[in-house]
Symmetry: C2
Subunit: 114 residues, 2 copies
C-alpha cells in the first residue's frame, strides 16, 4: 500500500449498522447526496458545507471507514466517490432509498446542527 493510500473496509467487512451510522448525520447525508448527484469523483474542496474544514475531514473519514465512500489522492486533492455497487450488492435498495429520502425530506438538519 502506498504511504498516501487511505484505509478502506473490504466489501465483506462493510456492516449495515456502520453504513446507517455513517448516514445518520445531516452533513454526511448531504455529502452522500452531493456525490450521488454530482460528478462520480469529487474533491472535498468542491463541497460547500456549513462546517469547518476539520469537521468536513472527519465526516468524510466516517463515510470512508464505514464503506460508504472511497477516497484517493489525486495530486494534492483527496477525491471521493460513493461505493454504490458495493452497497447495492450488500444491502439492496438501502443507499438509493436513503438518498431519495434525503433529497426530499427533513434530514434532521434543524434537530442536529453541525
Amino acid at each position: 500500500m502506498s504511504p498516501r493510500a487511505l484505509p478502506h473496509p473490504a466489501t465483506d467487512e462493510i456492516t449495515l449498522a456502520a453504513v446507517l451510522h455513517a448516514l445518520s448525520d445531516p452533513v454526511r447525508l448531504r455529502i452522500a447526496t452531493m456525490l450521488a448527484d454530482g460528478h462520480g469523483d469529487m474533491a472535498c474542496i468542491a463541497f460547500d458545507l456549513p462546517v469547518t474544514k476539520s469537521t468536513t475531514t472527519h465526516h468524510f473519514r466516517v463515510l470512508r471507514e464505514a464503506g460508504v465512500i472511497a477516497q484517493h489522492y489525486q495530486g494534492t486533492s483527496k477525491m471521493s466517490t460513493l461505493r454504490r455497487e458495493d452497497l447495492e450488492a450488500l444491502f439492496p435498495g438501502v443507499l438509493t432509498s436513503v438518498l431519495n429520502a434525503a433529497r426530499g425530506a427533513q434530514t434532521g438538519e434543524a434537530a442536529h446542527p453541525a
Copy 2:
C-alpha cells in the same frame, strides 16, 4: 396525556438522520426486524436479546424517540409496534430495504458488541 403515556414525535417531527441513527445499532436492527416479522404489537418481554433489561429499555426508547416504533402500556406491559406507515410516507423504501438487509446481511453485530 395520561400519566403513563410515553412521548412520541409527531410524524412531521421525524427526521431521516434520527431514524438512521436509531437503526444504526445491531440490537436495535434486531428489535425492528423482530417487530416486522412478529406480531404487530409485541411486549418488550417477548424479545430475546443478548443485553440487560436496562439496555433493552434504552434501545426501545431510542427507537421510540426517533419515531421508528410506537409504544404504549397494556396493563403492566409496554407494547411496541413499528411506525411503518409513517416512515413509508416520509422516507419511501428506507425501512423496508433496511429490514431486508438486516435479515440477510452482516449487521455489524461482531463489530459493535452490545
